[in-house]
């Protein structure tokens, strides 16, 4: 689970996070939405320890973040842009990350099969298509069976088939009790994958609640409409 208390972060004069409070319980699937530059990626990066907050606290699985790293054992992260060293082969990258984490790669074979990465394993990462690189990223995020999964715009580069497989996989992870957090601009995708929505605008959380509630409150049938109307109000 994740607890965030009065989290603030500025880059220079730009206030990106303006005192966020948030609690995401274990096993919840949450979508983070908001316009470009609202602070979605910064929020995720702060939880991952990539960005250091100016003030406020973050607790992940009851560990308070203070530059420590052990809590990341339970985190899998799939970045928005997947770029890897050019001179590395796919299987070498997997081996390398395995050696770093020193955890059992429980789902490695399963994910490679699901994403059809078998024929790509011996290829250099520079020769991989964008979509295949995304699949490698997804494999890295999920293969250690972490309890907390972060996906930053996961399906942006995937073809429909891969995207479908990815979504099925995320649904399974959800059913297995994983905490899943996804940022996306594709609202229909979030509708399929998450139960809760966080809407961020200008560094503040404007809405945090269940998808159902949001749709009822805003009198909309689709998430897209509900979010668009919230943006209009703001």
């Amino acid at each position: 689970m994740i607890e965030i208390n009065d989290l603030k972060k500025s880059f220079g004069n730009l206030e990106v996070l303006k005192g966020m409070n948030l609690a995401i319980p274990k096993g919840q699937a949450t979508g983070i939405v908001g316009p470009n530059g609202a602070g979605k990626t910064t929020l995720i990066k702060t939880i991952l320890g990539l960005v250091k907050p100016d003030s406020g606290t973050i607790r992940v699985n009851d560990i308070t973040l203070n530059g420590n790293w052990q809590y990341r054992r339970d985190i899998g992260y799939m970045p928005q842009v997947a770029r890897y060293p050019e001179n590395m082969k796919v299987f070498e990258l997997l081996e390398f990350i395995k050696g770093l984490r020193k955890q059992e790669a429980l789902f490695e074979d399963e994910l490679i099969e699901q994403f059809n990465l078998g024929p790509e394993l011996e290829k250099f990462l520079r020769t991989l298509s964008g979509g295949n690189r995304q699949k490698v990223g997804a494999t890295l995020a999920m293969m250690f069976n972490p309890g907390l999964l972060f996906f930053d715009e996961p399906t942006a580069g995937l073809d429909p088939k891969a995207s479908q497989k990815f979504k099925q996989r995320v649904k399974n992870e959800k059913e297995n009790g994983k905490t899943v957090i996804i940022t996306s601009h594709i609202m229909s995708e979030l509708e399929q994958l998450v139960d809760y929505v966080i809407f961020i605008l200008d560094g503040n959380i404007r809405y945090y609640g269940s998808m159902k509630n949001l749709l009822t409150e805003s009198n909309e049938e689709r998430l897209e409409g509900a979010i668009a109307s919230m943006m209009d109000v703001a």
Partner: protein, 264 residues
């Protein structure tokens, strides 16, 4: 923790060797040293010419290489930072992983011709000095490149520009500027000032050490000559090498601090 560091470094080594251009860099020094020894007279002269080339190019190549690594591996480093590892271990692993191949390329490339021309046996102290200085300079300037890459993380043009200016200043303009100051303020006792100033430039320090070893102050610039007169050979070498150690320690330490605190 150490095995983790080695794991990260090994990965960089593999990747760099595949890139082949580190091998090319070593070959350049191999060809250079070999032809200097073949056509350039005896061992000391060749070593001196080699050190002149080294003092000019190792800083440039080291810094460009360090900064380029940071810029090219941005997303990869960010991915590694999301893994459960200590940032400090990652920093040292990456630094050692990318600086040692460059260092080895220079050392091996120059060592082999020195070996097969028999210079290594005759002028062993001088050879060791030149190779050692090249190795230390490589580490110093890769760490500076790393530091500039982290400092100008989002602005590559500025980062590269800054790197080139620093190189021009340290490798080319510095001695001239000192000389100009000395000419302008010739009436004052400037010895201590000149020594202090030469301490602030790692390339100057390395040049001074070469000069002290070969006892050729006339060839090695103004600061070197003053240094020699002030310290003499033995003490001068000790003073210069301890300053070089500081030059290695301080940028790597600042780099570590920046890396540790940085928002990626």
């Amino acid at each position: 923790m150490n095995t983790l560091l080695l794991h990260i470094s090994k990965n960089e080594w593999k990747s760099l060797l595949r890139g082949k251009w580190v091998v090319g860099y070593g070959l350049i020094f191999l060809l250079l040293t070999d032809s200097l020894l073949r056509f350039g007279g005896g061992g000391p002269e060749a070593l001196l010419s080699l050190s002149n080339v080294m003092l000019l190019f190792i800083p440039l190549v080291g810094m460009i290489y360090g900064i380029l690594y940071i810029y090219q591996s941005r997303e990869f480093v960010e991915l590694l930072l999301t893994q459960p590892i200590d940032r400090k271990v990652l920093y040292w692993g990456l630094f050692i992983g990318i600086s040692t191949p460059l260092m080895l390329a220079f050392v091996l490339g120059s060592l082999l011709p020195l070996g097969w021309h028999g210079i290594l046996m005759v002028d062993s102290a001088a050879s060791a000095m030149v190779l050692g200085l090249g190795a230390v300079l490589t580490l110093i300037f890769v760490s500076l490149g790393f530091l500039f890459g982290l400092a100008f993380y989002d602005d590559r043009i500025k980062g590269f520009g800054f790197t080139i200016v620093v190189w021009l200043f340290l490798a080319i303009l510095y001695d001239g500027l000192v000389l100009m100051l000395v000419f302008t303020f010739g009436q004052y006792p400037l010895e201590r000032f000149v020594i202090a100033v030469s301490m602030l430039n790692p390339i100057d320090l390395a040049r001074i050490m070469v000069m002290l070893e070969f006892d050729v102050s006339a060839l090695m610039g103004y600061t070197g000559a003053v240094f020699n007169r002030f310290f003499g050979s033995g003490l001068g070498t000790i003073a210069a090498s301890s300053m070089l150690t500081l030059w290695l320690a301080i940028p790597t330490w600042i780099g570590l601090r920046v890396f540790n605190k940085k928002d990626f």
